[in-house]
Each structure stands twice: as C-alpha cells, then as structure tokens.
Symmetry: C2
Subunit: 360 residues, 2 copies
C-alpha cells in the first residue's frame, strides 16, 4: 500500500556522499573542513548545562541573529537561522514557489536542488554551463524564457569551483523578475583580493536571498547550522510562517554564535585551506590531471582517459582515500577532491603517482 | 514587494507559548519537564569532542534508530528520527497530503496543525469534541464525510489531558482509508496501569504513524529531537525522499540515544510527575477550579467566572507565574497548567489562594 503523493511516489531521493566510520580513511569526498572549529566553539560546547535543555530554545535564535548582523553589517531582521542550509533551500522553495512553477538551475550544479524541486512539485529548468564552466552568453534570455519563479545559483560554483562576480550577480538580480537564491556555501574560501561581496546587494535587490552555512567555513558540518540573508520581505514569511517554530536547537545556537565570533581564528583557517588548495592544484596539474582555479575548498580535476575518472576513484578507494565521482554528463571524466590537511593531500598525490606508475 | 505563494501570503504563523529569560519566573506554560535529563545524557554531552563536528552527522542516525527499535520492539526500519516532532508533522503532511486535500483534526487540538495544513495548501476539517472532551459518537461518520487524507489525533489529548484507548485507535485505523497520525507527545506520562500501547498496532495498521518526542518525557525540549514509528511503507518515503538529508545533528543524535537508554531514570521521573499531577489536581479542585483527570504533564482547569481565566492568567503573570491561556472557543474559561516541581506547584496554589482571598 502506498499513501505517497503522486510526485513523491515517482521521485528518487538525494544521495549524500559516502560517510565512513573508519578513522583510517582519508576523506576528501564531502568538502568537510580538515581543521576543527575554533577554541571559542569548544568552550561554548563545554559550557552547556544539560539542565538548560529542559526548556525550549530561543525560538528565533536572537543572539545568533545579532552576531550575524554585526558580521554582515545588516539588520538582525535580514537574517534567518536554519537547521543546516538544506532547511533554507527547502523553506525558500516551499514559501515562494507554487507547485507547477519553474525553478531554474545551472547544469551541473548541486544535486539536491532537483530533489527539492520535485518534492514541491515544481518544474526544473536546467541551463548548461559552457565547457570551460563559464555562464553561457544567452543565460539571461534562457532564464526569461523559462518563466522561472526562482533561480538557484551556487557561488562560488559547485562542483566547478568558479566564481561569478558581484557585478554579474547584481545585474542578474536587477533584471530577473523572480527570486535569485544565491548559495554561498563555499564563500569563505574565496580569495579576499577578489573583493567579492554579495551581501551589500540585499539593500538594492529585494529579490536576492543569500545562503550561508557553518558546515564548511566553520568546520561544523555535524552541527547543522545555516542561515539566510535577504530583505525583510523575503526573510519574514519564512521566519514567521513556514519555518518549524523551534527549527534550531539550544546547543547549536550557542556553538554557531561562538563560531561567528571567532573571526581571527576562522580567517587563519580559510587562508590555510586556500594555500593548500594552490599547492594541491599545482601537483595535480603536474601529474596531468588538468585542474582549473577554484574559489572553494575543493578542486575539480580532469582525469586522463588512460586511467579514467571512475577507475581512479575506485583505485583510490581501495587505498582508503575517498574522493567524489559523479556519474553524470560533463562530469564522468572528472573527480571532485576536497582540500584536506597537508598530509592528506600529500597522501593523495602519492597514491595517484603510484597508480599512474603501475597502470599498463 | 511580496514573492509569497498566495496561501502563504494570506496565512498567519504559529505562536509558541511565552518564553522568558528570567530565572525567577515559575514557568508552567509550555509543558516542559521540571527535572533535568538523565546522568547518561549529561555524560554523552560531556563526551562530545568539537573535532567530531567537522564531519557530517550519520545521515540516518543509525544508533538512535537501533535504540528506539529495542525500546519499542520494532525494526529500526520502522523508525524515523526528526528535528523535533514538528519536523515529523511537516514531513508527514508534505509527503502524503496533496495541496487541496483534507486534513482532519479534533477541536480543540494542538494549534500548530492548522498552520501546517495552511503551508501545504490543505483544507482543514475540524471535528468538535464533546463538552466533557470525549469523542462525539458520530466521529467516524463525520471523518468519512470529510474525505480526509489524514487524521491527526493527539493522544493523550492536548489541551484536555484525556486518553483514547488502544482499542479505539485500532478500530479507527482499521476503518479509516487515510493515514492516522497519532501524536503521542505526552504518552510517557500515561498511568502504566492503563496498559495503553499503540506501537504494537503498526504491525496490523499500515496507515498508523505514531509521533514521539524527547521534549517532554526526556526533558530535552531544547535539543529538538522527535521520531516517528510506523510501517516501512510510511517511514521510507519520508526517510529516503522528503527528509532533509542530514535532518538531525551529531550532538542531538548522541544525547537522544543516551536518553532512550536511561530507562530506569526516566521511569522515576514520569512516576514523580504523575504523583505531583495528582496532588496539584486535588489542590486545584479544592480551590474550586474544576480539573479533570489528565494523562499528560499538564492539567486543564476551569476557572470560576468570579475570577475569569484570562484575568487569573494575568494576575499570576504579575506574580511571575506563567500558565497558558487560549483565546478560543471552549477554552476561554480555562487555563492549561504544566505540572512543575513540588515547590512550583505549591507556589501556584498559594498564589491562586491569595488572588481568591483578595478578589472582591
């Protein structure tokens, strides 16, 4: 017997990257941060009293909203805290997009978006990136033609690592009649000298909703904490109507707040990941795995046909090194590799060298 | 400018009970447990290493599912862990009820249900309880006539405190063609001698979805952890399709698991709340506030017209005692009072006495 709604019955769920319980595995497949959260976060964790959990949490995570507003120089009313950024994606779709309406995404993009569109009964319109991962020249005409209610862009992009400029985002938001949901999951790893800053755009673009997460930049994937930044007309309906009343818990509120207030520590971590990213990229290119510049904490490298991406993924897995292989168009000859600790990156490079040397 | 879907634009959000930051307030308004979670939960909290938060949590909370399956003598596949039981309610509606279809509830009931129905664009069909809070004799004919896809029942009932028998639930689930969502948020406080047990019904009733939460019975409202129990045909679509991929976080999984494994401690707490509930009920009745038997951790008492429920609520609030007043039909002459610690219950009774003595 099935009670499922028809659109749920016919859909498939999202497949997260492999998780592993083994401490020996070098895990470079789900873009987790190789360094722990700040000492301030550790102190916040130690200060939690189990008796404080008897009570419901502060419904709107007021302290976190204040911290985020100071960090981003916006009002607390421009911030919505969520149970991971997954919740923000779902809330945005279920609040603003009717079943049957269109959601536009680039192709490739984050594989969760099509799943969320299906759950809401929305149509998905995919606009392919060019071979070099840049946006096609006719992106906006295609978007207009789709009559999309919402456009979801990851910036910096996943799984490609590229970055759209602030000016491009501003123009897009100004021209588009629907909502631009800008998924900035990886924004903390962007080179500061690029001067990328989308947050200031929320003052002029009432249709721009920016997604942030503490999973990557703040080493808190296990905590499930994200937030949205946008005009009050976008934030309020989610905050006061569609959000589960107590969507973030007491512990995660304290830790997330401590994380945002550990700026000096976080900046060091991001700088270190960027430096290691460049070293790893150089090594991969030297080995013949063409790897373009990335503004994220991962690299997307092209694997020569002589080895093959899927084969290399499997051979690395046999050596206890997990990377991400996507069985989909444009990506079957590539691997996405998270920037790990220096020793982990070195182990990866050594393993690829060995595999190349023993290949026929 | 508003981008909201039409049904969201016209709706109002849910109003949770008042929360207060003041340590002096006696808080008997949101059904929180007056005693802390078990020593095992405190130990689990102390054992969390902040470095473990770098990684994504176990996506399906395997250890918790195992513990819940042992506790309830079902398969782990019959269990879905959720970010508070609010998430289970939302998931059940968004997975099984199409926009435009009908959700049936009793009146009065938990005030969140109509909000969730509105978000999904569902119609709400309310079946009034009788004056003594029992189900009307023609409940099932009314339900059938509504053509509801889902019936949501709180058992033991909120805000009335009454209990429907296992046999009544079994008959209802057998006769009804839709899903029976049985919200057992307060089930831990039911007198064990009543032998109430709905969980065994999931083996014969494929349309029965049972909701549990750790907020009340396990003193963990601040943690946001609930779960569903049901046939795999009900659990799987939510588990593998509509749930956010990492809906419960690493810390809450560990603490929730420890809570379910603290059976001896929990049973003591529940017994104590039951005993204090009876004492409080006796005192309220002695003061002329008619208070029927309750199988929950709260009491719904009728306030004589000479004082008035809203007035008493306000006078208690002036004395730093919060109770819950509902401005709605059938409830305007009543207050819902959470069973607190012995000293808190005594302070409440003393305050009501003083108010009565100083009333004109």
């Amino acid at each position: 017997m099935s009670f499922e709604r028809p659109n749920i019955a016919k859909m498939h769920g999202y497949s997260p990257g492999e998780q592993t319980g083994s401490g020996d595995t070098i895990k470079l497949n789900t873009n987790e941060n190789p360094y722990p959260a700040s000492p301030e976060v550790a102190a916040a964790l130690r200060s939690i009293d189990v008796d404080s959990l008897r009570r419901y949490p502060v419904p709107m995570a007021d302290a976190f909203r204040e911290s985020a507003s100071r960090l981003h120089k916006v009002s607390p009313n421009n911030i919505i805290p969520t149970n991971g950024s997954d919740e923000l994606l779902r809330l945005a779709i279920s609040t603003f997009v009717e079943p049957g309406e269109v959601i536009a995404v680039t192709q490739p993009s984050y594989s969760l978006y099509p799943v969320l569109a299906e759950i809401q009964g929305c149509k998905l319109f995919e606009i392919p990136l060019q071979a070099n991962w840049s946006m096609p020249a006719d992106f906006f005409p295609q978007l207009e033609k789709s009559a999309a209610k919402m456009l979801i862009l990851v910036n910096p992009q996943a799984p490609t690592g590229g970055l759209l400029s602030t000016e491009y985002i501003a123009q897009l938001a100004a021209d588009f009649s629907g909502i631009v949901l800008l998924d900035e999951a990886y924004v903390n790893f962007v080179d500061p000298e690029l001067g990328y800053d989308s947050v200031s755009l929320i003052n002029c673009c009432e249709n721009l909703l920016i997604l942030r997460t503490l999973s990557k930049g703040y080493s808190l994937a296990g905590l499930r904490f994200g937030y949205g930044i946008g005009a009050e007309s976008l934030i309020n309906p989610m905050m006061f109507k569609t959000r589960d009343s107590y969507n973030t818990d007491h512990i995660s509120q304290q830790l997330a707040n401590a994380a945002l207030n550990s700026t000096a520590y976080s900046k060091q971590i991001w700088q270190r990941v960027r430096a290691d990213r460049e070293t790893l990229r150089t090594r991969l290119n030297e080995l013949g795995l063409a790897t373009p510049v990335s503004q994220t904490n991962f690299l997307l490298c092209q694997v020569p046909d002589s080895i093959g991406a899927k084969n290399l993924y499997q051979l690395l897995k046999q050596r206890n090194i997990l990377v991400r292989y996507f069985d989909q168009d444009q990506l079957r000859d590539k691997l996405r590799i998270t920037v790990g600790k220096e020793s982990e990156n070195l182990a990866l490079i050594t393993a690829i060298k060995q595999i190349q040397e023993t290949s026929p």
